[in-house]
Protein backbone atom coordinates (compact mmCIF):
# COMPACT_ATOMS: atom_id res chain seq x y z
CA UNK A 1 0.00 0.00 0.00
CA UNK A 2 1.44 3.29 -1.06
CA UNK A 3 1.54 6.30 1.22
CA UNK A 4 0.57 9.87 0.39
CA UNK A 5 3.51 12.07 -0.50
CA UNK A 6 3.42 14.29 2.59
CA UNK A 7 3.57 11.19 4.74
CA UNK A 8 6.69 10.05 2.90
CA UNK A 9 8.21 13.47 3.42
CA UNK A 10 7.75 13.60 7.18
CA UNK A 11 8.91 10.02 7.52
CA UNK A 12 12.00 10.89 5.47
CA UNK A 13 12.67 13.80 7.81
CA UNK A 14 12.28 11.62 10.89
CA UNK A 15 14.55 8.93 9.44
CA UNK A 16 17.26 11.47 8.54
CA UNK A 17 17.21 13.15 11.92
CA UNK A 18 17.14 9.79 13.64
CA UNK A 19 19.97 8.36 11.58
CA UNK A 20 22.22 11.40 11.99
CA UNK A 21 21.55 11.54 15.73
CA UNK A 22 22.11 7.82 16.01
CA UNK A 23 25.41 8.11 14.14
CA UNK A 24 26.56 11.06 16.27
CA UNK A 25 25.71 9.31 19.50
CA UNK A 26 27.17 6.01 18.32
CA UNK A 27 30.49 7.81 18.02
CA UNK A 28 30.07 9.07 21.57
CA UNK A 29 28.91 5.65 22.80
CA UNK A 30 31.90 4.02 21.19
CA UNK A 31 34.32 6.47 22.77
CA UNK A 32 32.59 6.20 26.14
CA UNK A 33 32.50 2.39 26.13
CA UNK A 34 36.07 2.27 24.86
CA UNK A 35 36.99 4.47 27.80
CA UNK A 36 35.34 2.20 30.31
CA UNK A 37 36.75 -0.96 28.70
CA UNK A 38 40.19 0.55 29.09
CA UNK A 39 39.58 1.90 32.58
CA UNK A 40 39.47 5.57 31.68
CA UNK A 41 36.56 8.00 31.48
CA UNK A 42 36.15 8.73 27.80
CA UNK A 43 34.89 12.19 26.76
CA UNK A 44 33.36 13.91 29.81
CA UNK A 45 34.05 17.64 29.37
CA UNK A 46 31.30 18.89 27.04
CA UNK A 47 27.98 18.71 28.84
CA UNK A 48 27.01 16.16 31.49
CA UNK A 49 28.81 12.83 30.83
CA UNK A 50 30.11 14.34 27.59
CA UNK A 51 26.61 14.19 26.10
CA UNK A 52 27.14 17.35 24.02
CA UNK A 53 30.44 16.11 22.58
CA UNK A 54 28.91 15.14 19.17
CA UNK A 55 27.59 18.71 18.76
CA UNK A 56 30.99 20.19 19.54
CA UNK A 57 32.63 17.79 17.07
CA UNK A 58 30.12 18.68 14.34
CA UNK A 59 30.68 22.42 14.77
CA UNK A 60 34.42 21.96 14.76
CA UNK A 61 34.35 19.88 11.58
CA UNK A 62 32.08 22.39 9.85
CA UNK A 63 34.40 25.30 10.59
CA UNK A 64 37.65 23.59 9.65
CA UNK A 65 39.87 24.93 6.90
CA UNK A 66 39.33 23.37 3.49
CA UNK A 67 42.39 21.64 2.06
CA UNK A 68 42.13 20.33 -1.49
CA UNK A 69 45.40 18.99 -2.79
CA UNK A 70 46.45 20.31 -6.18
CA UNK A 71 47.61 16.83 -7.17
CA UNK A 72 44.25 15.21 -6.35
CA UNK A 73 41.74 14.47 -9.13
CA UNK A 74 39.45 17.26 -8.06
CA UNK A 75 36.06 16.08 -9.34
CA UNK A 76 36.32 12.54 -8.03
CA UNK A 77 37.98 13.73 -4.85
CA UNK A 78 34.95 15.90 -4.06
CA UNK A 79 32.43 13.32 -5.27
CA UNK A 80 33.67 10.46 -3.09
CA UNK A 81 32.41 11.82 0.28
CA UNK A 82 29.02 12.62 -1.25
CA UNK A 83 28.76 9.08 -2.64
CA UNK A 84 29.65 7.69 0.78
CA UNK A 85 27.03 9.85 2.49
CA UNK A 86 24.29 8.96 0.02
CA UNK A 87 25.16 5.26 -0.03
CA UNK A 88 25.09 5.18 3.76
CA UNK A 89 21.62 6.73 3.98
CA UNK A 90 19.91 4.84 1.14
CA UNK A 91 19.38 1.44 2.85
CA UNK A 92 17.31 3.15 5.57
CA UNK A 93 14.49 3.57 3.06
CA UNK A 94 13.43 -0.06 3.32
CA UNK A 95 14.06 -0.80 7.00
CA UNK A 96 10.77 -1.32 8.88
CA UNK A 97 11.25 0.26 12.31
CA UNK A 98 7.82 -0.91 13.36
CA UNK A 99 4.85 -2.55 11.72
CA UNK A 100 3.75 0.72 10.12
CA UNK A 101 6.80 2.95 10.19
CA UNK A 102 8.87 2.46 7.07
CA UNK A 103 9.40 4.57 3.97
CA UNK A 104 8.89 1.88 1.35
CA UNK A 105 8.02 -1.78 1.71
CA UNK A 106 9.72 -2.93 -1.48
CA UNK A 107 8.85 -6.45 -2.63
CA UNK A 108 12.56 -6.85 -3.47
CA UNK A 109 13.96 -5.12 -0.40
CA UNK A 110 16.72 -7.67 0.19
CA UNK A 111 18.06 -7.23 -3.35
CA UNK A 112 17.81 -3.45 -2.92
CA UNK A 113 19.89 -3.67 0.25
CA UNK A 114 22.59 -5.67 -1.49
CA UNK A 115 22.62 -3.29 -4.45
CA UNK A 116 22.82 -0.09 -2.40
CA UNK A 117 25.16 -1.67 0.10
CA UNK A 118 27.81 -2.18 -2.55
CA UNK A 119 27.61 1.48 -3.64
CA UNK A 120 29.82 2.59 -0.78
CA UNK A 121 32.65 0.52 -2.28
CA UNK A 122 32.70 3.10 -5.10
CA UNK A 123 33.03 5.95 -2.65
CA UNK A 124 35.87 4.27 -0.82
CA UNK A 125 37.72 3.24 -3.97
CA UNK A 126 37.27 6.64 -5.66
CA UNK A 127 38.29 8.46 -2.49
CA UNK A 128 41.39 6.34 -2.16
CA UNK A 129 42.39 6.61 -5.79
CA UNK A 130 41.65 10.28 -6.40
CA UNK A 131 43.63 11.55 -3.40
CA UNK A 132 46.80 10.64 -5.27
CA UNK A 133 48.43 9.34 -2.14
CA UNK A 134 49.98 5.93 -1.62
CA UNK A 135 48.37 5.21 1.71
CA UNK A 136 44.97 6.20 0.43
CA UNK A 137 45.33 4.09 -2.71
CA UNK A 138 46.39 1.01 -0.76
CA UNK A 139 43.56 1.54 1.71
CA UNK A 140 41.02 1.93 -1.09
CA UNK A 141 42.19 -1.19 -2.89
CA UNK A 142 42.17 -3.28 0.24
CA UNK A 143 38.77 -2.00 1.13
CA UNK A 144 37.33 -2.84 -2.28
CA UNK A 145 38.73 -6.37 -2.21
CA UNK A 146 37.50 -6.92 1.32
CA UNK A 147 33.99 -5.56 0.83
CA UNK A 148 33.54 -7.51 -2.35
CA UNK A 149 34.70 -10.75 -0.75
CA UNK A 150 32.42 -10.49 2.23
CA UNK A 151 29.47 -9.34 0.16
CA UNK A 152 29.14 -12.84 -1.32
CA UNK A 153 29.05 -14.48 2.09
CA UNK A 154 26.48 -11.90 3.16
CA UNK A 155 24.30 -12.44 0.07
CA UNK A 156 24.39 -16.22 0.52
CA UNK A 157 23.40 -15.85 4.17
CA UNK A 158 20.50 -13.64 3.07
CA UNK A 159 19.25 -16.33 0.68
CA UNK A 160 18.69 -18.49 3.76
CA UNK A 161 16.46 -15.80 5.27
CA UNK A 162 14.56 -15.41 1.99
CA UNK A 163 14.02 -19.16 1.94
CA UNK A 164 12.57 -19.19 5.45
CA UNK A 165 10.28 -16.22 4.87
CA UNK A 166 9.45 -17.08 1.23
CA UNK A 167 9.65 -13.35 0.53
CA UNK A 168 12.19 -10.59 -0.08
CA UNK A 169 10.11 -7.87 1.60
CA UNK A 170 11.55 -6.91 4.97
CA UNK A 171 8.09 -6.38 6.48
CA UNK A 172 7.07 -9.90 5.44
CA UNK A 173 10.37 -11.26 6.74
CA UNK A 174 9.69 -9.79 10.17
CA UNK A 175 6.10 -11.01 10.13
CA UNK A 176 7.36 -14.52 9.39
CA UNK A 177 9.29 -14.36 12.68
CA UNK A 178 6.27 -13.75 14.86
CA UNK A 179 6.42 -17.16 16.51
CA UNK A 180 10.11 -18.04 16.07
CA UNK A 181 13.02 -15.69 15.42
CA UNK A 182 15.19 -16.71 12.48
CA UNK A 183 18.15 -16.62 14.84
CA UNK A 184 17.36 -20.21 15.84
CA UNK A 185 16.72 -21.99 12.52
CA UNK A 186 19.27 -19.77 10.74
CA UNK A 187 22.01 -19.85 13.35
CA UNK A 188 24.72 -20.65 10.77
CA UNK A 189 23.49 -17.92 8.47
CA UNK A 190 23.32 -15.52 11.41
CA UNK A 191 26.95 -16.11 12.32
CA UNK A 192 28.06 -15.70 8.69
CA UNK A 193 26.00 -12.52 8.31
CA UNK A 194 27.33 -10.99 11.51
CA UNK A 195 30.96 -11.71 10.63
CA UNK A 196 30.45 -10.37 7.11
CA UNK A 197 28.80 -7.28 8.62
CA UNK A 198 31.94 -6.53 10.61
CA UNK A 199 33.93 -6.66 7.37
CA UNK A 200 31.39 -4.60 5.40
CA UNK A 201 31.48 -1.83 7.97
CA UNK A 202 35.30 -1.91 8.05
CA UNK A 203 35.39 -2.53 11.76
CA UNK A 204 37.86 -4.39 13.91
CA UNK A 205 38.84 -7.22 13.66
CA UNK A 206 38.50 -6.49 9.91
CA UNK A 207 39.48 -2.82 9.74
CA UNK A 208 42.34 -3.39 7.30
CA UNK A 209 41.27 -0.52 4.98
CA UNK A 210 42.13 1.98 7.68
CA UNK A 211 44.67 0.09 9.71
CA UNK A 212 46.16 3.06 11.55
CA UNK A 213 49.43 1.38 12.33
CA UNK A 214 50.27 0.63 8.69
CA UNK A 215 48.17 2.90 6.46
CA UNK A 216 47.82 6.06 8.60
CA UNK A 217 44.04 6.28 8.01
CA UNK A 218 43.62 4.31 4.80
CA UNK A 219 41.37 5.67 2.10
CA UNK A 220 40.51 8.92 3.90
CA UNK A 221 44.07 9.87 4.83
CA UNK A 222 43.98 12.97 2.60
CA UNK A 223 40.50 14.12 3.58
CA UNK A 224 39.95 16.87 6.10
CA UNK A 225 37.20 19.08 7.49
CA UNK A 226 33.66 18.19 6.48
CA UNK A 227 34.70 15.82 3.73
CA UNK A 228 36.32 13.71 6.41
CA UNK A 229 33.18 14.05 8.50
CA UNK A 230 31.13 12.61 5.64
CA UNK A 231 33.30 9.49 5.61
CA UNK A 232 33.16 9.25 9.36
CA UNK A 233 29.41 9.78 9.70
CA UNK A 234 28.82 7.45 6.75
CA UNK A 235 30.71 4.75 8.56
CA UNK A 236 28.64 5.08 11.70
CA UNK A 237 25.33 5.27 9.82
CA UNK A 238 26.43 2.08 8.12
CA UNK A 239 27.04 0.57 11.54
CA UNK A 240 23.59 1.64 12.72
CA UNK A 241 22.04 0.09 9.60
CA UNK A 242 23.83 -3.19 10.22
CA UNK A 243 22.39 -3.21 13.73
CA UNK A 244 18.90 -2.61 12.30
CA UNK A 245 19.37 -5.31 9.68
CA UNK A 246 20.49 -7.97 12.13
CA UNK A 247 17.40 -7.09 14.18
CA UNK A 248 15.06 -7.24 11.18
CA UNK A 249 16.49 -10.36 9.59
CA UNK A 250 17.32 -12.54 12.55
CA UNK A 251 16.01 -11.11 15.81
CA UNK A 252 12.35 -10.68 14.96
CA UNK A 253 12.26 -6.90 14.36
CA UNK A 254 9.49 -5.27 16.35
CA UNK A 255 8.29 -8.48 18.04
CA UNK A 256 9.14 -9.05 21.68
CA UNK A 257 7.99 -11.23 24.57
CA UNK A 258 4.89 -9.04 24.88
CA UNK A 259 3.19 -6.16 23.04
CA UNK A 260 5.10 -5.71 19.74
CA UNK A 261 6.36 -2.21 18.98
CA UNK A 262 9.33 -0.10 17.92
CA UNK A 263 10.79 -0.16 21.44
CA UNK A 264 11.71 -3.84 20.94
CA UNK A 265 13.30 -2.95 17.63
CA UNK A 266 15.50 -0.26 19.15
CA UNK A 267 16.37 -2.33 22.21
CA UNK A 268 17.61 -5.19 20.02
CA UNK A 269 19.43 -2.82 17.68
CA UNK A 270 21.19 -1.25 20.63
CA UNK A 271 22.25 -4.66 21.96
CA UNK A 272 23.66 -5.66 18.55
CA UNK A 273 25.54 -2.36 18.31
CA UNK A 274 26.89 -2.74 21.83
CA UNK A 275 28.13 -6.18 20.84
CA UNK A 276 29.89 -4.73 17.81
CA UNK A 277 31.57 -2.04 19.91
CA UNK A 278 32.52 -4.64 22.48
CA UNK A 279 34.18 -6.80 19.81
CA UNK A 280 36.07 -3.80 18.47
CA UNK A 281 37.75 -3.11 21.79
CA UNK A 282 38.44 -6.77 22.52
CA UNK A 283 40.10 -8.31 19.47
CA UNK A 284 43.29 -7.44 17.57
CA UNK A 285 43.34 -6.95 13.81
CA UNK A 286 43.69 -9.75 11.25
CA UNK A 287 46.35 -9.80 8.58
CA UNK A 288 45.08 -9.12 5.07
CA UNK A 289 45.83 -12.62 3.74
CA UNK A 290 44.04 -14.14 6.76
CA UNK A 291 41.08 -11.87 6.09
CA UNK A 292 40.75 -12.88 2.44
CA UNK A 293 41.30 -16.55 3.18
CA UNK A 294 38.68 -16.53 5.90
CA UNK A 295 36.01 -15.14 3.62
CA UNK A 296 36.66 -17.40 0.63
CA UNK A 297 37.57 -20.62 2.37
CA UNK A 298 35.43 -20.57 5.48
CA UNK A 299 32.48 -18.19 5.25
CA UNK A 300 31.35 -19.01 1.70
CA UNK A 301 31.35 -22.82 2.15
CA UNK A 302 29.56 -22.42 5.49
CA UNK A 303 26.98 -20.14 3.88
CA UNK A 304 26.44 -22.69 1.08
CA UNK A 305 26.02 -25.47 3.65
CA UNK A 306 23.47 -23.34 5.49
CA UNK A 307 21.67 -22.78 2.20
CA UNK A 308 21.56 -26.51 1.46
CA UNK A 309 20.25 -27.40 4.93
CA UNK A 310 17.63 -24.65 4.85
CA UNK A 311 16.34 -25.55 1.41
CA UNK A 312 16.21 -29.23 2.38
CA UNK A 313 14.19 -28.25 5.46
CA UNK A 314 11.86 -26.06 3.42
CA UNK A 315 11.37 -28.64 0.67
CA UNK A 316 10.47 -31.36 3.17
Amino acid sequence: MAQPIFQTLWKTGVVFLGALTAAAYLVLAERKFAGYFQERYGPNRVGPFGLLQPLADAVKLLLKEEVIFPQASRGLYLAAPVIIGVAALLPLAVIPFSEHFYIADLPVAVLYLLAVGSLSTYGVLLGGWSSNSKYALLGGLRSAAQMVSYEIAMALALVGVALMAQSLSLVKIVQAQQSLWFLIPQILGFVVFLIAAFAETNRLPFDLPEAESELVAGYHTEYSAFKFAMFFVGEYIHLFIVGCLVTVLYLGGWYGPWKPGPHWFFLKTFLVLFFMIWVRWTYPRFRFDQLMRFSWKVLIPVALLNLLLTSLWMAL
Binding site: L61, V67, V86, A162, K227, P301, L304
Partner: protein, 118 residues
Protein backbone atom coordinates in the same frame (compact mmCIF):
# COMPACT_ATOMS: atom_id res chain seq x y z
CA UNK B 1 4.65 0.57 -8.50
CA UNK B 2 3.24 2.23 -5.40
CA UNK B 3 6.23 1.54 -3.18
CA UNK B 4 8.74 2.99 -5.62
CA UNK B 5 7.40 6.55 -5.43
CA UNK B 6 8.34 6.99 -1.74
CA UNK B 7 11.67 5.33 -2.49
CA UNK B 8 12.27 7.80 -5.32
CA UNK B 9 11.40 10.77 -3.09
CA UNK B 10 13.68 9.43 -0.37
CA UNK B 11 16.57 8.99 -2.82
CA UNK B 12 16.24 12.53 -4.17
CA UNK B 13 16.10 14.00 -0.65
CA UNK B 14 19.16 11.94 0.34
CA UNK B 15 21.25 13.33 -2.52
CA UNK B 16 20.08 16.87 -1.77
CA UNK B 17 20.92 16.46 1.92
CA UNK B 18 24.45 15.24 1.17
CA UNK B 19 25.05 18.15 -1.23
CA UNK B 20 23.52 20.61 1.23
CA UNK B 21 25.81 19.47 4.04
CA UNK B 22 28.86 19.86 1.82
CA UNK B 23 27.60 23.27 0.71
CA UNK B 24 27.10 24.50 4.28
CA UNK B 25 30.63 23.38 5.09
CA UNK B 26 31.98 25.35 2.12
CA UNK B 27 30.16 28.50 3.29
CA UNK B 28 31.18 28.20 6.95
CA UNK B 29 34.73 27.02 6.56
CA UNK B 30 37.74 28.95 7.79
CA UNK B 31 39.47 31.09 5.21
CA UNK B 32 42.68 33.00 5.33
CA UNK B 33 46.41 32.73 4.88
CA UNK B 34 47.64 29.19 4.87
CA UNK B 35 50.96 27.41 4.71
CA UNK B 36 52.01 25.93 1.37
CA UNK B 37 53.32 22.74 2.96
CA UNK B 38 49.79 21.83 3.96
CA UNK B 39 49.21 21.07 0.31
CA UNK B 40 51.52 18.08 0.04
CA UNK B 41 50.42 14.52 0.47
CA UNK B 42 50.91 12.93 3.85
CA UNK B 43 53.84 10.58 3.94
CA UNK B 44 54.75 10.58 7.60
CA UNK B 45 56.20 14.08 7.42
CA UNK B 46 58.66 13.37 4.61
CA UNK B 47 58.31 14.93 1.18
CA UNK B 48 56.29 12.54 -1.03
CA UNK B 49 58.53 10.13 -2.88
CA UNK B 50 57.69 9.37 -6.53
CA UNK B 51 54.19 9.03 -7.94
CA UNK B 52 51.19 7.68 -6.09
CA UNK B 53 50.01 5.88 -9.20
CA UNK B 54 51.85 2.80 -8.09
CA UNK B 55 51.56 -0.72 -9.47
CA UNK B 56 49.43 -2.91 -7.30
CA UNK B 57 49.03 -6.59 -6.73
CA UNK B 58 47.38 -8.59 -9.56
CA UNK B 59 45.56 -10.56 -6.85
CA UNK B 60 43.01 -7.74 -6.65
CA UNK B 61 41.89 -8.47 -10.23
CA UNK B 62 41.59 -12.15 -9.44
CA UNK B 63 39.39 -11.43 -6.44
CA UNK B 64 37.20 -9.19 -8.58
CA UNK B 65 36.78 -11.93 -11.21
CA UNK B 66 35.84 -14.64 -8.72
CA UNK B 67 33.53 -12.14 -7.02
CA UNK B 68 31.54 -11.54 -10.20
CA UNK B 69 30.98 -15.28 -10.67
CA UNK B 70 29.75 -15.86 -7.14
CA UNK B 71 27.73 -12.67 -6.97
CA UNK B 72 25.77 -13.64 -10.06
CA UNK B 73 25.26 -17.05 -8.52
CA UNK B 74 23.82 -15.48 -5.40
CA UNK B 75 21.48 -13.36 -7.55
CA UNK B 76 20.16 -16.47 -9.30
CA UNK B 77 19.45 -18.01 -5.93
CA UNK B 78 17.03 -15.29 -4.80
CA UNK B 79 14.11 -15.88 -7.20
CA UNK B 80 14.47 -19.59 -6.58
CA UNK B 81 14.51 -19.12 -2.81
CA UNK B 82 11.19 -17.31 -2.61
CA UNK B 83 9.34 -19.80 -4.81
CA UNK B 84 10.75 -23.02 -3.40
CA UNK B 85 7.53 -23.82 -1.51
CA UNK B 86 5.49 -23.44 -4.70
CA UNK B 87 7.84 -25.46 -6.90
CA UNK B 88 8.65 -28.26 -4.47
CA UNK B 89 11.22 -31.03 -4.88
CA UNK B 90 11.90 -30.35 -8.55
CA UNK B 91 13.25 -26.88 -7.73
CA UNK B 92 15.23 -28.23 -4.82
CA UNK B 93 17.06 -30.83 -6.94
CA UNK B 94 17.61 -28.35 -9.78
CA UNK B 95 19.18 -25.81 -7.48
CA UNK B 96 21.26 -28.36 -5.61
CA UNK B 97 22.79 -29.36 -8.95
CA UNK B 98 23.39 -25.70 -9.81
CA UNK B 99 25.08 -25.00 -6.49
CA UNK B 100 27.12 -28.21 -6.78
CA UNK B 101 28.43 -27.17 -10.18
CA UNK B 102 29.40 -23.82 -8.75
CA UNK B 103 30.98 -25.55 -5.81
CA UNK B 104 33.12 -27.47 -8.32
CA UNK B 105 34.17 -24.08 -9.65
CA UNK B 106 35.03 -23.06 -6.11
CA UNK B 107 37.17 -26.20 -5.70
CA UNK B 108 38.88 -25.42 -9.01
CA UNK B 109 39.65 -21.87 -7.91
CA UNK B 110 40.86 -23.24 -4.57
CA UNK B 111 43.21 -25.77 -6.24
CA UNK B 112 44.50 -23.15 -8.67
CA UNK B 113 45.38 -20.94 -5.74
CA UNK B 114 43.06 -18.09 -6.77
CA UNK B 115 41.74 -17.87 -3.21
CA UNK B 116 45.24 -17.68 -1.78
CA UNK B 117 46.61 -14.24 -1.02
CA UNK B 118 50.34 -14.02 -1.62
Amino acid sequence: MGEYVPLGIYTVVTVLLALLLMGVAIILRKRGPTRPDKYTNYECGELPEGTARIRFHAGYYLVALVFILFDVEALFLFPWAISLRALGWFAFIEMTLFVLILFLGWIYAYKKGALEWM
